[in-house]
Amino acid sequence: MTQDLVNVTIDGMTVAVPKGTSIIEAAKQAGILVPHYCYHPSLPSPAVCRMCLVEVEKVPKLVPACVTTVAEGQVVHTDSEQARKARTGVLEFLLINHPLDCPICDQAGECELQDYVFQEGRAGTRYSEYAKRYNPVEDFGPDVLYVANRCILCTRCVRFMEDVAGTPVLNVSERGDRAYIGIDEGQLLDHPWAGNVVDLCPVGSLISKDFLHKARAWDLDKTASVCTGCSQGCNITIDTRDNTVVRLRPRPNLEVNRHFMCDTGRMNYRWMNRGDRIEAPLVRDAGRLVASDWDRALDRLASLVEKGGTAVLLASGAASLESLGMVHRLLAGTRLTAAVQVPMAESEEPLQGIKGLALRRERAPNGDGARLIGYGTDWPAAVKAASSADLVVLLDVTLTDAEAALVSGAAAVVVLGTLQTQELPAATLVLPVTNVAEENGTFVNRDLRVQRYQQARTAPGMSRPAWWVAASVAPAHALGPSTGASTAAEAFALVCSTIPSLADLSYADLGLLGRMTPAQGLAPTMHGGS
């Protein structure tokens, strides 16, 4: 890939960057962060906050790094006395009307105003005797509150709604120091992707009602994960406090979701904390399901599998590649029908300004992963087959009453489940498994990108990942091809070894941004596209 490269020296470090790169992006490559507010790599740049002013040799005035492109041989100083004075000046100007809300502001601890002021702001204000500009808090609805007093008018939110979401529902109203962010009366910020303005806001001006006063940023543990809302596979961060998931936020991945996630995915986390979990492995003994230990349960599972015969595997499209793959392998010695369930919605909700990003109709994260392993998609047929099967294994699915009735016709039913919600009188074995927040695993998204997610909270009760259940049965019972794996990474490698397009992949290859897999020789994906 040949490109015109330009050599530029920033704070003594010389980097070669493509022609047309801004100084602020070139600086990132040199490992230098130029402080900024209004600039954002996924938004058009207005250069209004004036924080990113840097000194360029032989240029009389400071230039904004976000809109100034590099020139061959340019020498830039981001931290010269002039640049620092300018930044300190901007920070002081921002603080004269900014209220001292830190003690009650959700943004504290993850606030860019705090961060930069701490780094190079003045120790004390020189604006001491005037009232600060006051505007009341506004409910932009459904989830977003606008605390006007804290607004630094970076206009990221306005630009996001206009240029990325494609609906200019926010504006800057008034002029001068009377300016504030306005929303049209009677309008709500209910665009399917509007929640991103809360992330974009560098301060605590646009805040989430869902997260309001729930936790302090520094109390949160942050874990890299992948959203389970649909097949887009937006990279996210799961924020937990005391082992409870309190917030999901998008994690930057330029190839998948850039810096955004939709509101459906964002708000869809409370189920991860549900307390009505299957606590222990349940074994049916003399007609009753009795809590037991894993050894007994795995023995029982082994005996059911050893019997062979016909088996039907009904799995959730939200199960990990590891779990789907290992359970599938476990049943390799049976006459197996495997199907994956992917709920389909009426329509998709694209984020207009980002190519290839949408809340997808397929509302499960790993339908394509299941398909790669060999799961079918004809759910009704599989359920029908289950009614006369020797063994049915349910992997984290909830059946309809009709489906449950059919399944109860099977000779033996093994449930690998998370929630207690469904009582199946036919269940021989009910094994508690972990959900996406409680395990390591991978999903394959609709673009056939394999992405890792990491464990964000401890698994409750005696639950274990479903891949572990399958992997742990085998060694003691020498079932099928070698199914032993004691870590998710090993399970992944094992599962991938039999899938041509995933062969030889390892967790190290995926990192935390995932990897595209070649689509050669495969049937069209679930969603009909390629």
């Binding site: 459904p142 989830d143 009677g186």
Partner: protein
């Protein structure tokens, strides 16, 4: 994802304009449409359209903002951002006669503030921006009107009056019923 829909922003419309009559019908619509060929975009007709609304109605209401947005293919939020930027557009009703007195430095040093006081007194407005009880006048201070050599200039509705002194004020006001 709580929050009740309809619990809109703090500045709720003070008027429920149930009987809102569109501005852009008949001749006014024709005048606006005559502008379309003069600009490559509909959006560029925004300032002229807003002037037309203000000429017809005396001010630009939220419903009118919505109408302008629809006619020009813009969002109401966008139109509102523009309306609130330009100070000559009224976003609430004002007196029948709108008095704008320049008090920027060139006129300020020639007694403009006394002229303002005279207007406030003789209109009965009491304070800047308030409408007189009889609904006749609203008086405000404005920035440089571009007639500094003819201090103090005053704009009353569309009448640009030069050389106003406190003594002339009562006589000037007589002409505005």
């Amino acid at each position: 994802m709580s929050g009740n829909p309809g619990a809109g922003p703090a500045q709720a419309a003070a008027h429920h304009e149930e009987s809102y009559q569109p501005v852009f019908v008949g001749p006014v619509k024709a005048r606006l449409e005559a502008l379309f060929p003069q600009y490559p975009t509909r959006q560029a007709c925004l300032l002229p359209a807003l002037w037309m609304v203000q000429e017809e109605r005396g001010w630009i209401s939220p419903r009118a903002i919505g109408e302008v947005a629809e006619v020009l293919g813009l969002t109401p939020a966008f139109v509102k951002g523009v309306v609130t930027f330009y100070t000559m557009y009224h976003t609430h009703p004002v007196g029948r006669h709108f008095v704008q007195v320049c008090t920027t430095s060139p006129c300020n040093i020639c007694g403009a503030e006394d002229v303002v006081k005279a207007f406030l007194q003789h209109t009965g407005c009491g304070e800047l921006g308030a409408t007189s009880k009889d609904g006749r006048f609203t008086v405000i201070e404005v920035e440089c009107l571009g007639a500094c050599g003819f201090a103090t200039p005053v704009l009353i509705d569309d009448d640009f009056i030069e050389g106003v002194t406190p003594e002339r004020v009562p006589g000037i006001l007589q002409g505005y019923k």
